[in-house]
Amino acid sequence: MIVNGQSAEIQPGETVASVFERLGLSLAARGVAVAVDGEVVPRAAWPSFTLDADSHVEVLTAMQGG
């Protein structure tokens, strides 16, 4: 799978929540959103949303911008 542009080995039962663990991010982090394969994954679905080897995951947050 690809997480924020980097390829990553997928583990059995990998979910959006487990990707947060890999990145050292808290699931409670404010101002964070996730897209998988170009679709929004709502926060409530992060623990249950399973990923596969072709998944393209983007984990985004607020950055300074005009």
């Binding site: 985004l60 607020a62 300074q64 911008g65 005009g66």
Partner: protein
């Protein structure tokens, strides 16, 4: 044609020349005392950003959505939350309606706001809006319940099309983003003011305080500044300058300026003029 949004505001009865004049900006039913929107991009540090926000008086500030950096120190969201300002997510960096719509939906998820500053850019050299993609994205987002504030060219017809679709405001550019070239076509900004009945927010191109004052004098309801403040030699001082410029321009607009004349009109009466012959 007189636009109701440019009519003189009521001056509070208790106004003594030092207190605030009740003249709030209203966008989609929300009231803002400040008519200056601040972009958060380009500030060298979050500390400086926080100080600039305080001096700008801004209540609505834009943020972008980018890949998270787990090693990043300091949270922009926390800084903005502590500043007590509303977040206005943008779709900066999007070149297609599809990407802009997805970014807006992600921002809604991240920040629990359905407001979006919609940017769909045509090319990297000019960063000018791509009109057909902008209209497509605006339509889709309005249909999905978003409060859409589109960054648009200074084209009155495009502005009207965006408002027809249901955009809550229009944000025409004065000149290209970050160029500091000011308002290159004041005439078109005036035409946009006449053409639409939603707030007009002058966005992009502001270089210094007089540009912001001019925007307001032309009838804009608010000004958005980012680079002009963030990249000034003293961003905090420029934030303060912009705040005053926007207030001065608004007051001048609503006060009603004198007409321009080719020849002088004496301000001192001739009556009682002595004859020294």
């Amino acid at each position: 044609m007189t636009d109701p949004t440019s009519a003189a505001p009521p001056i509070a009865a208790a106004h003594n020349g030092t207190g605030p004049i009740e003249d709030a900006l209203r966008i989609a039913g929300r009231k803002f005392q400040s008519r200056l929107l601040l972009g958060t991009g380009g500030f060298p540090s979050l500390e400086l950003l926080a100080e600039a926000i305080a001096h700008s008086g801004s209540q609505l500030v834009t943020v972008a959505l980018r890949r998270i950096d787990p090693a990043a120190r300091g949270s922009l969201v926390d800084v903005l939350s502590a500043a007590g300002v509303e977040l206005l997510p943008n779709t900066a960096g999007c070149f297609t309606a599809r990407d802009a719509v997805l970014t807006a939906k992600l921002a809604r998820e991240a920040f629990q706001t359905d407001w979006v500053k919609l940017e769909v850019i045509g090319d990297e050299d000019t960063l000018l809006p791509d009109a057909p993609e902008l209209l497509r994205a605006a339509e889709e987002l309005v249909d999905d319940g978003f409060v859409v504030l589109p960054y648009t060219t200074d084209d009155p017809i495009l502005a009207r099309r965006l408002v027809d679709i249901g955009c809550a405001a229009v944000m025409p550019l004065g000149s290209p983003i970050g160029s500091g070239m000011g308002i290159r076509n004041p005439y078109n900004i005036s035409l946009i003011r006449e053409a639409v009945r939603v707030p007009v927010v002058l966005d992009a191109g502001i270089g210094t305080a007089s540009d912001a004052a001019l925007a307001m004098e032309l009838g804009c309801d608010a000004v958005m500044a980012a680079s002009a403040i963030a990249r000034a030699q003293d961003p905090v001082r420029m934030a303060s300058a912009m705040r005053h410029a926007v207030q001065a321009g608004r007051l001048a607009r609503t006060a009603g300026r004198i007409p321009r004349r080719l020849y002088a009109t004496a301000s001192t009466p001739d009556e009682g003029l002595p004859d020294f012959s």
